[in-house]
Symmetry: C2
């Protein structure tokens, strides 16, 4: 699987979030080498705590696959998933998560907790990290730089 | 706050799940001593991994409050939340979670992990457990007993 190709698609989604002043995180879900769903963070614009990129993409993927089980799917996301999104990935039985930048403040795929690889849960998710990490990180840094400028 | 009163309302939701052969978990969200949203597990019937009782109730509550922040809210749920739901509770900045039965297989409010009380995250959620634990547990046990009978 061409990780960079799909991460570029996730980055396009992250740019959509950036352009509406949302924390720039984007996601695509791949099944049989095809993108079946996409999502970008809309928490502020939709005034809804659930509207993270991954949740939006998982919701669409379940509708497309017609099952709560997304077995055989790979989720690409520009930034390491938070506890809610890592939990949703686990619940939907996605095979593999590929992420770009680590999230030291909320990441639950190894940074703070590892929800995807815990013997106590009945499913484990493979983790691939650091794909296009520079591009994913720069976008986040630019967003927070813009935010500080607006605050001053 | 009358914990038993609101847990009985969550149990009514759990019975709705039981009646459609879903794992019987129900939830209500309370703000200013009034129930603002309800939810019950619909994962199988909606073929969607996100359709846990708590996620459905949080989604509705955000729409009613008009904010992704559910500050001042208390979430009542019959069974200890899983990682996804505990993460969504954290993300929505709910003040307090009140649950009935522990979930030794997926509970993330103390059983396997404690997502709601971790110094690394930027929010903490108060936890009250064991409210109407017998009623909440009996319903779950009955569901799994029925399921085993159907399997035989």
């Amino acid at each position: 699987m061409d990780y960079n190709f799909f991460m570029k698609e996730a980055l396009k989604e992250a740019f959509k979030a950036y352009n509406i002043n949302e924390v720039p995180i984007g996601c695509v879900i791949v099944h049989n080498d095809k993108i079946i769903s996409k999502g970008y963070n809309k928490r502020n614009s939709e005034k809804n705590a659930l509207k993270h990129a991954e949740i939006i993409a998982i919701d669409k993927a379940c509708k497309i696959i017609g099952d709560w089980r997304l077995e055989g799917c790979t989720l690409f996301v520009t930034v390491e998933p938070c506890p809610m999104c890592a939990g949703a990935i686990l619940q939907s039985r996605i095979d593999t998560v590929v992420f770009g930048a680590k999230n030291s403040k909320a990441g639950c795929c190894g940074s703070i907790l590892n929800i995807l690889d815990n013997n106590s849960f009945n499913h484990k998710v493979n983790i691939v990290e650091g794909v296009m990490v520079e591009d994913c990180s720069i976008l986040m840094k630019q967003f927070f730089k813009d935010l500080r400028r607006k605050d001053n």
